[in-house]
Symmetry: C2
Subunit: 470 residues, 2 copies
Amino acid sequence: MIWIASIQCFFGLLSVFVFRDKTFTDFIYPSLLCLILAFFLFIRTNRGEQKKIFFREALAFASFTWILMGVLGALPIMSVTGVSFTDAVFESVSAMTTTGATILTGLDEMPKSFLLYRQFLQWMGGLGIVIFVVAILPMLNVGGMRLLKAETPGPIKNEKLAPRVASTSRYLWLVYLCLTIGCAGSYWLAGMSPFDAIAHSLTTVSTGGFSPYDASMGHFQQPIILVVADVFMILGAISFALHHKLFTARAISGYWQDEETRWFLIALAVFSVILTVLAFNAQTHHSFWESLNQAVFHVVSFMTSTGYGADDLSAWPAATAGFLVAASYLGGCAGSTAGGNKFIRNVITLRILKHQMLQAIHPRAIMKVVYQGKAVTNDVIQAVMSFMLMVAISSMVLTLILMLTGLDFFSAFTAVSACLNVLGPGFGEVSSNFIPVSDTGTWVLTLAMILGRLEYFTLLTLLLPQFWRD
Amino acid sequence: MIWIASIQCFFGLLSVFVFRDKTFTDFIYPSLLCLILAFFLFIRTNRGEQKKIFFREALAFASFTWILMGVLGALPIMSVTGVSFTDAVFESVSAMTTTGATILTGLDEMPKSFLLYRQFLQWMGGLGIVIFVVAILPMLNVGGMRLLKAETPGPIKNEKLAPRVASTSRYLWLVYLCLTIGCAGSYWLAGMSPFDAIAHSLTTVSTGGFSPYDASMGHFQQPIILVVADVFMILGAISFALHHKLFTARAISGYWQDEETRWFLIALAVFSVILTVLAFNAQTHHSFWESLNQAVFHVVSFMTSTGYGADDLSAWPAATAGFLVAASYLGGCAGSTAGGNKFIRNVITLRILKHQMLQAIHPRAIMKVVYQGKAVTNDVIQAVMSFMLMVAISSMVLTLILMLTGLDFFSAFTAVSACLNVLGPGFGEVSSNFIPVSDTGTWVLTLAMILGRLEYFTLLTLLLPQFWRD
Ligand SMILES: [K+]
Ligand SMILES: [K+]
């Protein structure tokens, strides 16, 4: 059931969109291929309908969807821009995972329909990931997300996935659409053209970060546009289930009562202060207000894993890159389109570490790690810590592999972190695009994006031999 | 009791050593100061003798000992070399924690007695840390070291620390001395002068890495010397309790039966193969055997956190630095003088991650993480993971702080990892010594060495307000 619902949704929307663009045969053949594939998959899954579809199938389905969509989405990119298959898949996966890393240059001269296709692909990816993390992950407790169960509405006790996914998808889709329309309207009021407003709203709410311009947000002169982007990037990085709950209840103060959102906003403020001080001291801008605006924008862009740029960061103090990469590791809130560790895990991790120290002082006392007023169970603690360690280990191992392909340490590490955290921009050799990366390196980074987007464990379980045994 | 025993041991040996060197008044005044301080501490602790000394006191004692010894050991360094107080404390703490990072240049021209003092300080530090990790840490379960309890001989059930420390210290001291004598003899047979053999044996067995020469092990031409160093660095990085057990039982095969030692040796082999291939491909040496010898030596030097150098690593491929830093994070075995994460934690962490994936596939199955044939308890799992996360977080935070003091990312990160893992040498700006680091940065790195040496949690608990309340 889930197969059908999601695949139809994906393919339907993709083909509708693709067909609209009548100027490009580049789009028509791939979309026909998609329809044929969808048809066969539909037949296949209809046959298997009787079987109970659960943990294993959900894991496999999520991984294969992203990989398949990545490859299919790559076909128009290849035929329009003439890049290699490797690069096209990288670009397409970068769109579908809302990473926003690019191997293209000269965007400003490309056909508008193609640019909008890229933006739309990212918007679709954002919707897909929200459905995945809100409806599927909590059932699997991947990375400790069982905690979120309490937040999602409706009955949740080990029911079959399909009806749940369908009902959850409906309201998520509504929230997502409202935010996008609000964002596009605000951009337009702030001074963007209608095309720019729509194109950027698609990648702001999805915290994707693709832009139809090489200069990204630096293309626009109005400071107010950065502020609009700030607001909608933050909204896109807050739990969509929470948005829905608070919109229907009309209780805006609920954002501050939610521990995860509260700490996310506090962290944004702290990092903004640090970066403003750094930028202002280095006199990279004309006024304090410009430094503030730019610093806040970049902190929001990196912490929400959007990855928009608006300035030449290499002119900023060297420590800026360090803080921005650290911000991208922290990430946004769970149940949103943002990447990174997510604040629910950051908060729980810090509490576990404090708990460890207290336990060392009072070894016989019985203490609990508390989150949002409830004691966190051992299995959630271990899942959260496993996730965090997986982030550290993946960063280290993938950086080493990229260094073997010839990148220097700084470029390799920032490229890996940009992909794992589905952030987008790197530093050093990969600061403007990922063209300097070798073919092998590009495939490694493509995998890194899927790995990070699917919260590591979803993809990695497929590698275990036990997964394929019965 | 533990206060008195350890302080007397430390101060006694230090003053005996210091007094031996009659040519330098630089040594006499500080050593008098030490004796006076020891006397006052002796009186103070005698008064407090009746109180039960346990967890909190053990934690505080360990931290303060290393800080105090660092400051006191710095005095002769200041007066002999004329460096600032900051730099002298760094050098002294670097010695006491067996880090081996240096802010000195022109070692070859310095007085031999001073150079031997530096080496001896590191040897003392090695002994201190072995007693600390074997006798005290398992009682506190800092970083999951309760697991090691099974390994240490004698009754261990919540007894008072003092008699246990005394009995354990005796055999550790014996093992340490035997290894050092064996190492010095082997160096001498391999062609070193008696002074060089003794000086290097003191910092090989302690995996400290100080050398009386600027070129470190590169000072010697005989390839066989590197092989001798390999053997004794590895022995110094294997659990001393295990050494004692197997020496008395005359069962050399026991090393391979010990899971931690086995994986440590396997990892050494794997990294050696990778580095040999890298070095041989880049043709940095005249022959395959030279590449092999150099690659194995550097892998052993970094993985055991000794930090000896024997070649100009900047001529090696860029990925070399990445692999060596990664090796230093892996570290040696628990209960030895080595730094880093220790293999017992590496092995358990990987098993926990695998366990998480299996649990995602079979959510209802009851599975256990097994180490050395026994199920690992939840509190050990959480302590191990907390330790690993603390390593990652400390590395990130301290790197950011160092970048604020003006270092570039690569230098800052490798400097921090060199200090946290008590390794010694960094890369980039800090590849030959730590002089380019600012004063603030030097203090940060001094703290990092103590933080890493005392397994993070020992020092960090002192920062909790709860520690100081009753
Ligand atoms: K992004
Ligand atoms: K060392």
